[in-house]
C-alpha cells in the first residue's frame, strides 16, 4: 500500500523577476521516503526546498505540505526540519553549539517565553543523536566543516521533525565526514523520518536514498536511483554522456566525454 503523501507539488513554477527558476514541476513525496534531488548548479534545487518551506511562493501551481499550503503551516512548521547551506551563515558569529541547537526550538517555545527543561532536553538529545555532545560549549567559529554540518542537523532535529530537508549538506566536508553524515541520515530514515536531500554529489547519494529526482528547471526524471541514474535524461541534463558504475555500495558518475 502506498504511504500517505507528505509533500505534493502540482505544476509548480517559480520566477525571480523575469528568470524562470522552476517550470511545471510536479512531485510527490510519500511519508517515510528518502529522496535525493540532484541537478547541476543553478537548476533550482534550493528554490524547490524553499517552496516547500514556504519561503518562496510559486507564480503558478499548487504546493501541499502536511496537507496545507506551506505559508499556512503555523503550528505544523515544527514538523519540518531544515538544514540550510552552511555558506549563508556567518560562521564568526559569537554563539556556542548548544545555543545554536536550542534555537531550533525558539519558534515552538514562542514569544515572551523562556526555554524549559523539555526544550533543553530535546536539544541535548539532538546533540547526542548526531554525536557531538562534547562540542556543546564550543563557539561555532571553532568547528570543522563536518562538525558544523552536524550542528545544523542537530538544530533541525531539536524540533523532532517528521520531514527533514537538507540543502547540499556535504559542501566543504571531507569524504569521511560525508559518508558518516549519510550514515547518520540513513539511521534517521530507518527511525521513520522522511528525508529530502539536495545534492550534486550524485555518486554518494545514490546508495542511501530510495528515490532520485533530477531537477534542471523542470523535473527531468524521478524514480528509483538505478532507474534514474542510468537514464538518458540524466545524461542529457548534464550535457555529456554519463555512465554509472556500481562499485561497492556507491555508484560513480563517470563523465565519458564532453559534447
Amino acid at each position: 500500500m502506498e504511504n500517505p503523501t507528505i509533500v505534493q507539488l502540482d505544476h509548480v513554477s517559480v520566477t525571480y523577476q523575469d528568470l524562470v527558476v522552476l517550470e511545471d514541476v510536479s512531485l510527490k513525496v510519500p511519508c517515510g521516503s528518502f529522496l535525493a534531488i540532484i541537478g547541476p548548479n543553478g537548476a533550482g534545487k534550493t528554490t524547490l526546498l524553499k517552496v516547500i518551506l514556504g519561503l518562496v511562493r510559486p507564480v503558478s501551481g499548487e504546493v501541499r505540505v502536511f496537507d496545507k499550503t506551506p505559508w499556512e503551516l503555523n503550528g505544523d512548521r515544527r514538523r519540518i526540519g531544515y538544514v540550510p547551506q552552511v555558506m549563508f551563515v556567518d560562521l564568526n558569529f559569537p554563539v556556542r553549539v548548544g545555543e545554536v541547537v536550542l534555537m531550533g526550538r525558539y519558534g515552538r517555545i514562542g514569544l515572551l517565553r523562556q526555554p524549559t527543561a523539555t526544550d533543553h532536553a530535546a536539544a541535548l538529545r539532538a546533540l547526542e543523536c548526531v554525536g557531538i555532545t562534547d562540542l556543546a560549549d564550543r563557539p561555532i567559529a571553532r568547528l570543522s566543516g563536518g562538525q558544523r554540518q552536524r550542528v545544523f542537523l542537530a538544530r533541525a532535529l531539536a524540533n523532532e521533525p517528521e520531514l527533514l530537508l537538507l540543502d547540499e549538506p556535504t559542501t566543504g566536508v571531507d569524504v569521511t565526514s560525508t559518508e558518516s553524515l549519510y550514515e547518520l541520515l540513513h539511521g534517521l530514515h530507518e527511525a521513520g523520518i522522511t528525508i529530502l536531500v539536495v545534492s550534486h554529489d550524485v555518486g554518494v547519494v545514490a546508495s542511501y536514498v530510495d528515490g532520485v529526482a533530477c531537477v534542471n528547471r523542470r523535473l527531468v526524471a524521478h524514480g528509483r536511483p538505478d532507474e534514474v541514474l542510468g537514464s538518458a535524461e540524466l545524461a542529457q541534463m548534464y550535457g555529456c554522456d554519463a555512465m554509472f558504475f556500481h562499485h561497492g555500495r556507491a555508484p560513480h558518475l563517470v563523465v565519458e566525454r564532453e559534447r
Binding site: L55, N74, V95, E99, R108, P115, P139, N159
Partner: protein, 267 residues
C-alpha cells in the same frame, strides 16, 4: 576633578552618559553582528530633520526626532524588504533626503538657532532635566524590549531564514530591531550628537566582538566599554575643555584598537 561631580549639569550628564553608553552598546551588538552599521548612521542623520522640525514647531526636539527616526527606519526597512533596491541604497536615499528636510526646516525658522549645534555635535550643558527623563524613559523602554525578545533578536540576527522557517516572525523582529536602533539614536543625540551617535552604537560592540566568541559575554563587554567610554569621555572632556561627544567617541575608538591588538580572533 571631583568638584565637577558637584555640578547638577554634570550629574545629569553622567546619568545620561551611563544610560546611553549601556543602551547604545547593547543595540550595537545586534547592529555589528547583523551588519546594520550603515542603517544606524542613516537613522542618526535622519534625526537632524526631526530635531529641526521640533525647533520649527516649538516642541521638544527629542519627541519630534522619535517620530522622524521611526518613520525613516520603517521607510528603509520597507524599501529594502520590497527588494526593489538594496538595503544600503535605501539608506543612501533616506540619509540625504532627511538631512535636506532638516535644512529646509531651519531655513523656515526665524533667525539662527544656537541649540541646533548642540544636537549636531552633542553638549553636556544642553542636557536638561526634561531631556534626562525622556532619555531615561526611552532607555528603559529599549532595555525592556530587548530583554523580552532576547532570544528572537539573537536568532534573527544570526540566521533570519532559519528563524522564519521554524516559526519565529523574522520580518516583525527585523522591524522591531530597526525601531530599537531608531529609539537608541534619539535618546543619545543630546549627549553625543547626531554626527557621532552611530559611532557610539557600533564601536563598543565592535571592540567587544574582538574579545569574545560568546554572545552574552559580547553584550556584557560591549556595555562595559560603552558605559566606560561615556563616563570616561564626559569626565575627561571637562578638564580638557573638549567636546563631550567627540571625547566619548574617541575614547571608545581607542578601546576598539586596543581590543583589536589583544583579540583572540586574530588568526
Amino acid at each position: 576633578m571631583t568638584e565637577i561631580l558637584g555640578y547638577a549639569f554634570m550629574q545629569r550628564a553622567l546619568c545620561a552618559g551611563v544610560l546611553i553608553g549601556a543602551v547604545c552598546a547593547m543595540i550595537g551588538v545586534y547592529v555589528v553582528l547583523k551588519g546594520l552599521s550603515f542603517i544606524g548612521a542613516g537613522i542618526a542623520h535622519a534625526s537632524f530633520g526631526g530635531v529641526a522640525l521640533g525647533f520649527l514647531v516649538g516642541v521638544n526636539p527629542v519627541l519630534t526626532a522619535v517620530v522622524f527616526c521611526l518613520a525613516t527606519a520603517w521607510g528603509i526597512g520597507l524599501v529594502a524588504r520590497k527588494g526593489q533596491v538594496k538595503e544600503d541604497t535605501a539608506v543612501g536615499v533616506f540619509f540625504a533626503s532627511t538631512m535636506a528636510l532638516g535644512i529646509l526646516f531651519i531655513g523656515l525658522m526665524q533667525g539662527y538657532n544656537v541649540d541646533l549645534f548642540g544636537y549636531l555635535f552633542g553638549s553636556i550643558l544642553a542636557v536638561t532635566e526634561q531631556d534626562l527623563w525622556i532619555t531615561l524613559g526611552l532607555g528603559m523602554g529599549v532595555l525592556i524590549v530587548v530583554g523580552l525578545f532576547f532570544k528572537e533578536l539573537v536568532f534573527v540576527t544570526f540566521d533570519p531564514e532559519m528563524a522564519e522557517v521554524t516559526g519565529v516572525p523574522a520580518g516583525k523582529v527585523y522591524f522591531l530591531l530597526i525601531s530599537l536602533i531608531a529609539l537608541t539614536v534619539v535618546l543619545s543625540i543630546k549627549v553625543v550628537g547626531i554626527v557621532l551617535v552611530s559611532a557610539l552604537i557600533v564601536t563598543p560592540a565592535a571592540a567587544a566582538y574582538q574579545l569574545t566568541e560568546d554572545f552574552q559575554w559580547m553584550m556584557v563587554l560591549a556595555v562595559l566599554i560603552g558605559v566606560g567610554s561615556a563616563v570616561g569621555g564626559l569626565l575627561l572632556s571637562y578638564p580638557l575643555n573638549t567636546a563631550s561627544g567627540a571625547t566619548i567617541v574617541l575614547l571608545a575608538t581607542s578601546i576598539f584598537f586596543i581590543a583589536g591588538m589583544v583579540s583572540p580572533r586574530r588568526r
